[in-house]
Amino acid sequence: MPAETTLERDDAQVSGLDALELAPRREKGNLGRRVWRSAWPKLLAIALVLLVWQSVVWAEWKPIYVLPSPATVFTDLGNVITTGDFWGGVRVTMTRAFTGFLLAVVIGTVIGALVSQFAPLRAAIGSLITGLQTMPSIMWFPLAILLFQLSESAILFVVVLGAAPSVANGLISGIDYVPRTWLRAGQVMGMRGIAKYRHLILPASLPSFISGLKQGWAFSWRSLMAGELLVIVPGALSIGVRMQQARDLSDSSLVICYIIVVLIIGILIDVLFNKADNSLRKRWGLLS
């Protein structure tokens, strides 16, 4: 048969097969509906918690100054969050959190890259990195003061020590699991040195890196709450200090307020990380 017809027939076949293999796009359902679907159980859960809480209060199991009623707590919360001071404190704390976390990311990344690159380095400090993770933050205070005196840097130091190990571990395991075929493909394309890192190793270890970041965030946040007690820098009062003070004042309603505040911040950040994680996974096709 003549080559012409073969080619033409092939064209139809190729694109026909392509069309078949790509599953038809599905509608996702309308947005409002999706939001509602994910929102109602949360609202229900909150309602349930409030109900149980209020019942316990009504039952007078504990004196009201030990276990305040939801109404008291939310009034207090309302009072707290409507002061400019509070938002100043949130700003101070979040600034520290982000600065510390960014520093931790930079440091963790460098350490992770070095450790995954040099086998002896890994044997030397691989376990140490995880060992550091289990060190309670207060143990770093003396060292922090020693190195950085009483400054913002001392707080950041504690935060960095809390978060950097997780970040480094995430990167290390990401690099470890870069598939061999990708490495070989890169090598054949002539990737060497920096180009190899830039075009292959770093992007390839991204998903594991992100979960390291997520874990690192949890650690850094907890370290920050402790570390903020290290020094009170004049200006707005940070969340950590406020929390401690609520405890010192034995103001249980205020304590619960701040538990709620910290929880909400924690959840918001978690949601952000999940969004990043999911969109990455979707782009990579790691999710269905």
């Binding site: 003061i145 020094v231 009170i232 010192d248």
Partner: protein, 331 residues
């Protein structure tokens, strides 16, 4: 006054420091510091030397900061000062003035009326080996009750932080607590506790040190003039408290609010102020006695406290103001 280490008190020489970094706690027992900062006494006295204040939540952090050069002087309780002195083998710091006396004691639940009633009970103290902890243990011993460091014995002594102690007492998880102000008053006023021992009654003249002012030996040697100015501000603050009690209370509470966001309740503030005595006298005798007690109950390794005081500059100022000098004698 004075002792072998008279270099500082000898002259008013040495250059003024560019900055003085002063530590204190947002706590009513540090009222002279709170008021001095709030009213600007320190800065006025220091003149061209810039005042840089730092606040701490606990003694160990303040000592760490002092030792690592982050601050030059700080208000602090007797216990961390002794520990710092012992750890640095007498080279790290000097006590240069007293600040606060009194304001601590044992508050217990209803139904406990005598030492004997404490058998099998749980009593909180702020920290193992601190002044109140030692006081409690010594008092228990005197009354024939024993308590070990692991929380066992006739009376279970449980060191725990203030917040925990207050909450635990309110809920009946502990039976009493030997605590300083303002928690002493708060236990009484807010949690309906009653006084079993007011520590004052255990001391001669009803005086015992609660807070004093310390400075690093390096700073003292290099900038004696600045130290003197600091003391000047300190004395002014004390004066102010003595002369304007009501205003002083207000100023202290304003500074507390600035530092921690919430002022003390008026009744607690008043009660605390009533229990506390603000004086430049470091009540040296009580420090030595307390250290002796600590040794006796095994909470302090033998330590030579000789030379921990340098009251020369203070006494010079007191003399100039026509006030009685203070002593660093052990008894």
């Amino acid at each position: 006054g004075g002792d072998d280490n008279g270099a500082a008190s000898a002259t008013g020489g040495g250059s003024d420091a560019a900055t003085l970094r002063l530590g204190y706690f947002p706590n009513i027992t540090h009222a002279p510091a709170l008021i001095g900062v709030n009213k600007g006494f320190f800065q006025t006295a220091l003149g061209s030397t810039k005042l840089d204040t730092k606040t701490f939540n606990a003694g160990p952090a303040a000592i760490e900061a002092l030792f690592s050069g982050a601050i030059d002087a700080t208000y602090i309780g007797p216990n961390p000062a002794i520990n710092g002195w012992a750890q640095s083998k007498g080279t790290g710091l000097k006590i240069i003035a007293g600040s606060t006396s009194g304001g601590a004691g044992l508050v217990v639940k209803e139904g406990i009326n005598s030492p004997a009633d404490l058998k099998g009970k749980k009593i909180a103290t702020p920290q193992l080996g601190n002044t109140q902890d030692v006081a409690l243990r010594a008092w228990l011993k005197e009354n024939g009750l024993n308590a070990d460091q692991q929380g066992g014995g006739d009376v279970s002594v449980l060191p725990q932080d203030n917040a925990t102690a207050l909450q635990a007492f309110a809920q009946g998880a502990i039976d009493g607590a030997w605590v300083p102000e303002p928690n002493y008053s708060r236990l009484l006023l807010e949690s309906k506790g009653k006084v079993l021992v007011d520590e004052k009654t255990l001391w001669p003249n009803q005086l015992f040190v609660t807070t004093h002012l310390i400075v690093t030996q390096k700073f003292l040697k290099e900038h004696p003039a600045t130290v003197k100015k600091l003391l000047q501000g300190h004395l002014e603050s004390l004066d102010y408290i003595e002369k304007n009690k009501a205003d002083a209370q207000k100023a202290a509470n304003a500074q507390l609010e600035a530092l921690s966001g919430k002022p003390l309740k008026d009744n607690v503030l008043e009660a605390s102020f009533k229990n506390l005595t603000f004086t430049a006298d470091p009540v040296a005798a009580s420090l030595f006695t307390s250290a002796k007690h600590a040794k006796e109950v095994g909470l302090l390794k033998p330590v030579d406290l000789n030379g921990i005081y340098d009251l020369g500059p203070l006494n010079e100022l007191l003399k100039a103001a026509g006030k009685p000098e203070v002593s660093d004698a052990a008894a």
